[in-house]
């Protein structure tokens, strides 16, 4: 038996150079797919209780009352309006009188949804001064 030249064994190697790429790819994947639940809403600043703040007299003509009753009907000033009419009407009145303060009075039995819908319209009309009147 002829002794063959012993073949030199190649050293077995696991390529590790691309492991970094894999790890970074995983990081980037999770960075991109992670979504934090955003908190959304309509912001409003409540007035302090009247005994803590100085009472400010507001002229009646500078107040626009909006009532929302238990079934969601809207009374704007003296007329009943639909939800879609609130924004243009309020816009018009503010243009006439920039000092106008909107007082939103909602019935106790009104659904929260109806209240939010009107508040949304007021925000859309860019009303700066919104006052939430307490229900009787």
């Amino acid at each position: 038996m002829a002794m063959g030249k012993r073949q030199k064994r190649a050293e077995p190697e696991i390529p590790t150079a691309s492991m970094a790429d894999i790890a970074f790819l995983l990081i980037i994947f999770f960075l991109v797919t992670t979504s934090f639940n955003q908190e959304m809403g309509l912001g409003l600043t409540l007035p302090p209780l009247s005994d803590q703040a100085e009472q400010v007299q507001v002229r009646q003509k500078n107040i626009l009352n909006i009532w929302v009753n238990a079934v969601g009907e809207i009374l704007l000033g003296e007329e009943i309006v639909s939800l879609q009419q609130v924004e243009p009407e309020v816009r018009r009145r503010i243009q006439e009188n920039p000092l106008l303060i909107i007082s939103l009075k909602t019935d106790r039995e009104t659904n929260y949804d109806d209240f939010i819908a009107v508040l949304d319209q007021l925000k859309k009309a860019n009303v700066g001064k919104i006052s939430l009147a307490e229900p009787d």
Partner: protein, 143 residues
């Protein structure tokens, strides 16, 4: 002239084998140190929708108040009656004021069918303890 043997240059190699370990270590570090505070709140609340919905920018200033359609109130995962709202809100407000020196925001997460009277009552309690920044949680309405 005698031949001068050129010195063989050592090949420059940057070891990349440990890069993976570094990346995984970073990943694990951030996974371990990240803390999410997620309140469960009350179940089955359907938020109203509004077009002017905005994002709350400073989440750390927010205290959540859930109100469901039966009129149950829950503040940051504690069920409580309406009478206890001022005291717990006051404590939270003081804690936030001391930590961040900023006013707290109360996010009111109420069901669309919740009665407004209860919410008005709750807002009155908030005013009692001067928690005046409120936010009505809404979903975005797209037209």
């Amino acid at each position: 002239m005698p031949k001068i043997e050129k010195k063989q240059k050592a090949e420059t190699v940057i070891p990349t084998a440990s890069m993976a370990d570094i990346a995984f270590l970073l990943l694990i570090f951030f996974m371990v140190t990240t803390v999410f505070v997620v309140y469960r709140g009350l179940a089955g609340i359907e938020r109203p929708r509004a077009e002017m919905t905005e994002r709350i920018l400073e989440k750390r200033l927010v205290t959540h108040m859930w109100v469901n359609r039966e009129g149950k109130i829950n503040v940051d995962d504690v069920d409580l009656p309406l009478e206890d709202v001022p005291s717990i809100i006051y404590n939270k407000q003081e804690a936030i004021r001391q930590t961040f020196n900023r006013p707290m925001v109360v996010s009111i997460i109420a069901d669309r069918d919740a009665p407004y009277g209860l919410l008005a009552e709750a807002m009155h309690r908030l005013r009692e303890v001067e928690a005046l920044n409120v936010n009505f949680a809404t979903g975005r309405l797209t037209r």
